[in-house]
């Protein structure tokens, strides 16, 4: 019996971390409706600041290439001092992030705000990986760990301190926000800016202070957990998932509930590990990691419909959506251009181009789902992974040949897409992003980690494609990657592009865009909104599944690393930057920006700078969200290069005209047309 209790008590360590992270998320939300996906990443970075200060006397900076640290002392410095410096550091970081990123985006569309915070998350994770490496670090305990014995139970005393800290924090926050003028101003500011002004405190300052306190809490959580759980950039960044779950239980409001939920979650996870070791019948696999997701789903579906609705009635519009002008001509052009590129390239670059094409395919699914229908999905790679691994099972076990195996693999992803889409019937915007992130995280832990489904570390072998006696496989002897394989991939991806283009131009596209624009109005014209959303999730999952299956053919033996949560986040980043409302955005993202794509591979081979892809993508995502939500490939709106080019052209033309006739009314009358929301030619099919 006592050993069960012991595991519960041991779980207090991570439980306290979740609780403190959750409390920080509540503060950030209160300070202007921010749901910050970067919260865990910041905790991770501050944890590294602390560990480096303590062990080496080095102060890491959130920079790369240029000096990324300052040496304060030649040896490590005192633990208490290190903690103080780290927390001050966190406060500064919080203020900078708030004023640079979150403040300007207060009234932005949900997708824009999600994109920005995912950008911060990716950037910090990338800095972590570049500066501190991926091998996990340990640091000696901070709190006293002298064993405590109660009855037959012996456990380290730091667990008691952890719990104490959480309780003290929760009480302190509750008192501050309940009884001080600052707390009242926060409350009022949560309603609107003027509310806070009435109390006599600048809303701007209140929100900033809240954000700073939240960031300090994130730092504290990172520092506290560092001695207990091995420190590495990825897993700490993903603490955001349990933290979000915990904050949701408290409705992003109640400090008490958040603290309690955090502690219980930590204890629950720990106890499950005990169960798994104790009882053979208890399901194996990474169930503890699935627990936060279960929490998220339960609260999301049982609570009121729009948990985080504030800020959803945004004043800024969604990214623009383009209407493909002439899909068949574009497809023909892509086929010719793609084949030429394939012919020109050899070896690793040709392989990288093929990888680009698979990314384009998955990116197309995101353009459809998030661009056209406005359903933010952070789980797109999960759908791809399901398609990829199902292809392995289909091609080997079920004896089905290409192209049926490929189509069936895509179809297998459909139910998964619909399942992940189900919460979207009640949730929108950031709520949905939270759920899909949780789903991706859980799929990592449960599905892609499993020996049976995904082949474990070795991977799952996939039978090479044959069609009508023609060998389409990627390798034959030393010929790798083969041209014919590349062309097969090219054709499939172009077909998927045509599917998306056709969807956009037809009744389906109108229906989905109507849903994105206004769900109430969509219902008023007879559109079944839930059904439309599920259809979008289903089709998107199909396209992503096909993309994953193509990756499977390409790799021969498919492993799960390409489908991890961070891959989904990275995909959102590159597609958003390139232009999430247009097919050209997917193409640009896959070829020019993806970490496994052509451009990055080329730059890496030539200049060895491929490792900077994530940080560039993360930063580009932040900048795009703030400055140009329509993306690089937008030709009519925003500040993308294409728009700049056209503006420049207009200016030059006007200048030339100007030398002939002093005033050109024609050039002036074109100005309003520039401001048109994106879409291109009027249509009459």
């Amino acid at each position: 019996m006592s050993s069960y209790l012991l595991f519960l008590i041991l779980g207090l360590g991570s439980g306290a971390t979740f609780a403190i992270l959750g409390l920080g998320l509540v503060l950030k939300y209160r300070s202007g409706g921010v749901v910050d996906f970067a919260h865990g990443a910041v905790a991770m970075f501050i944890a590294y600041v602390f560990v480096n200060l303590r062990s080496q006397g080095v102060l890491p900076l959130p920079l790369i290439v240029v000096p990324d640290h300052i040496r304060i002392s030649s040896t490590g410095i005192d633990t208490t001092l290190a903690i103080v410096i780290s927390l001050v550091y966190a406060a500064l970081l919080g203020a900078v992030l708030y004023f640079l990123i979150y403040r300007p985006l207060r009234f932005a569309a949900p997708l824009t705000r999600i994109a920005a915070s995912v950008g911060v998350m990716l950037t910090f994770e990338a800095i972590g990986v570049l500066n501190f490496g991926t091998t996990s670090q340990t640091t000696p305990p901070i709190l006293p760990t002298t064993p405590i014995t109660i009855g037959s139970l012996t456990f380290p005393s730091d667990r008691i301190f952890f719990t104490g800290i959480v309780v003290v924090l929760a009480i302190a926050l509750w008192l501050i926000y309940r009884f001080t003028r600052f707390g009242l101003a926060t409350q009022a500011g949560a309603e609107n800016d003027r509310g806070a002004a009435l109390i006599g405190i600048s809303a701007n300052r209140v929100a900033a202070i809240n954000y700073v306190i939240a960031t300090v809490l994130a730092g504290a959580a990172g520092i506290l957990i560092a001695p207990v759980a091995n420190l590495d950039p990825t897993s700490y960044t993903l603490f955001i998932v349990p933290a979000l779950g915990v904050a949701l239980v408290g409705g992003f409001r109640s400090f008490w509930l958040v603290a309690l939920a955090g502690i219980l979650l930590g204890m629950g996870q720990s106890e499950i590990i005990k169960f798994q070791s104790q009882w053979t019948w208890f399901p194996h696999g990474d169930i503890p990691d699935a627990l936060p997701f279960i929490l998220i789903i339960l609260t999301m579906t049982t609570r009121a419909r729009s948990l985080l609705a504030r800020g959803e009635a945004m004043t800024q519009r969604n990214p623009s959506v383009a209407r493909p002008k002439n899909p068949m001509a574009s497809a023909a052009f892509c086929l010719i251009a793609g084949t030429l590129i394939m012919l020109l390239l050899q070896g690793s670059l040709r392989n990288a181009f093929i990888s680009s094409l698979t990314v384009v395919c998955i990116a197309l699914s995101l353009v459809l789902l998030t661009g056209y229908v406005g359903q933010v999905s952070l789980a797109q790679m999960t759908f791809a992974g399901v398609g990829g691994f199902m292809l392995g099972h289909i091609s080997h076990g079920w004896g089905l040949g290409f192209p049926f195996s490929l189509i069936l693999a895509g179809l297998c992803a459909v139910p998964v897409g619909i399942l992940v889409g189900l919460p979207a019937l009640r949730l929108r915007g950031v709520n949905l992003a939270v759920v899909t992130l949780g789903a991706a995280f859980t799929a990592d832990a449960l599905i892609f980690n499993s020996q049976g489904f995904a082949g474990g570390l070795v991977g799952l072998p996939i039978k090479p494609p044959h069609l009508l006696g023609i060998d389409l496989s990627i390798a034959e002897g030393h010929d790798y990657p083969r041209l014919i394989f590349g062309i097969m991939v090219l054709v499939v991806v172009i077909l998927m592009g045509l599917l998306v283009a056709r969807l956009r131009r037809g009744a389906a596209g109108r229906m989905l865009l109507a849903v994105r624009s206004n769900e109430r109005a969509a219902a008023s014209v007879g559109i079944n909104v839930p059904q439309a959303k599920l259809m979008a999730f289903g089709i998107a999952a199909f396209i992503a599944g096909i993309g994953g299956a193509l990756t499977g053919y390409q790799q021969g033996t498919l492993t799960a690393d390409g489908f991890a949560t961070f891959a989904s986040l990275g995909l959102l980043a590159v597609v958003y930057v390139a232009g999430i409302g247009r097919i050209s955005g997917a193409v640009f993202a896959g070829i020019m920006m993806s970490s496994i794509g052509l451009a990055v591979t080329f730059l890496d081979e030539r200049f060895g700078i491929g490792k900077y892809q994530t940080i560039v993508a993360g930063l580009a995502l932040i900048v795009t969200a703030i400055a140009n939500p329509d993306g690089v490939m937008s030709t009519t709106t925003g500040k993308g290069p294409a728009v700049l080019y056209f503006k420049l052209q207009d200016a030059v033309v006007a200048r030339i005209h100007g030398t002939v006739t002093t005033k050109t009314p024609a050039a002036e009358s074109e100005q309003p047309a520039e401001a048109r929301p994106a879409v291109e030619q009027p249509h009459h099919v």
Binding site: R516, A523, R676
Partner: protein, 268 residues
């Protein structure tokens, strides 16, 4: 309008009650709208007019009473299914699809796209969409000049008209309009009135009109009902309503001007 055999009402509402928590917005109201009439609903701000439309069209669950449409109980039917039965509506705040052109706004309404249509559209050979109702709605609402524009590019008055056009493009049997004339100038309002008047007689669309513009409502409607604090305080022909002392006291009396406008409006 009154024949020898009374027609079965197209819309039949019995003791409809809408409450938000403790606030009763609509208190046990009976309404019946016959096929082929223009029925008006007026009342001061906060009287419960929008709440009533919301309850009739499935946007707000009523806390009591029943709604029958064409002999069918639709009290608990979901909004999009009511729309498919032929019960269209407009919104007080217009709510167009900002990402679609005016033409597409109407087209998407006329298509009533479901998953089956969407999938057929995706995988089977292309067919030109059926534009009959769209062209009709463009014609009725005189939207020819703005079909290729986006809602953000046209005037408020035009947006209101597009809202009406979008409801009509579904070729509904009954259209409920929430203050379609609000924000329009007198000329636009008059033109709108004429169009609405022609709907039942020429196009077979019954109209349920909510508006503040007294001259419009009194000129256009066959019958009307006055709502005050959620209660139906009067019902009858425009002439009867104009005379009704309760109405004068509760509504018109507090706004002296609308009566004057009415006289001026009907005089011109």
């Amino acid at each position: 309008m009154t024949g020898l055999t009374p027609k079965m009402p197209l819309l039949d509402v019995r003791s409809l009650r809408v409450a938000y928590g403790g606030v009763v917005a609509v208190a046990d109201v009976d309404v019946s709208v016959a096929e082929g009439e223009v029925f008006g609903l007026i009342g001061p701000n906060g009287a419960g007019k929008t709440s009533m439309i919301d309850a009739l069209t499935g946007y707000q669950a009523p806390s009591g009473g029943s709604v029958n449409f064409d002999g069918r109980d639709i009290t608990n039917m979901r909004a999009h299914r009511r729309a498919r039965l032929g019960l269209a509506r407009t919104f007080q705040s217009v709510e167009l699809f900002d990402d679609l052109t005016v033409d597409e706004n109407l087209l998407v309404a006329s298509e009533r796209a479901g998953v089956m249509l969407a999938l057929r559209d995706l995988f089977l050979p292309a067919r030109a969409p059926d534009r009959t109702n769209v062209d009709w709605a463009i014609d009725v609402c005189d939207l020819g000049g703005v079909v290729d524009r986006y809602p953000s590019e046209i005037s408020h008055g035009q947006r209101k008209l597009v809202g009406v056009g979008r409801a009509l493009a579904q070729k509904p049997r009954l259209v409920l309009m929430d203050e379609p004339a609000a924000g329009l100038d007198t000329d636009e309002s008059l033109a709108l009135g004429q169009r609405l008047r022609s709907l039942p007689d020429e196009h077979g669309v019954t109209v349920f009109l909510v508006d503040h513009d007294m001259s419009l409502v009194l000129a256009v409607c066959d019958r009307l009902m006055v709502l005050d604090f959620g209660h139906a305080i009067a019902q009858g022909s425009p002439a009867e309503i104009r005379e009704d002392p309760r109405v004068l006291e509760a509504y018109l009396g507090s706004h002296g001007t609308p009566v004057a406008t009415t006289a001026a409006g009907s005089g011109s």
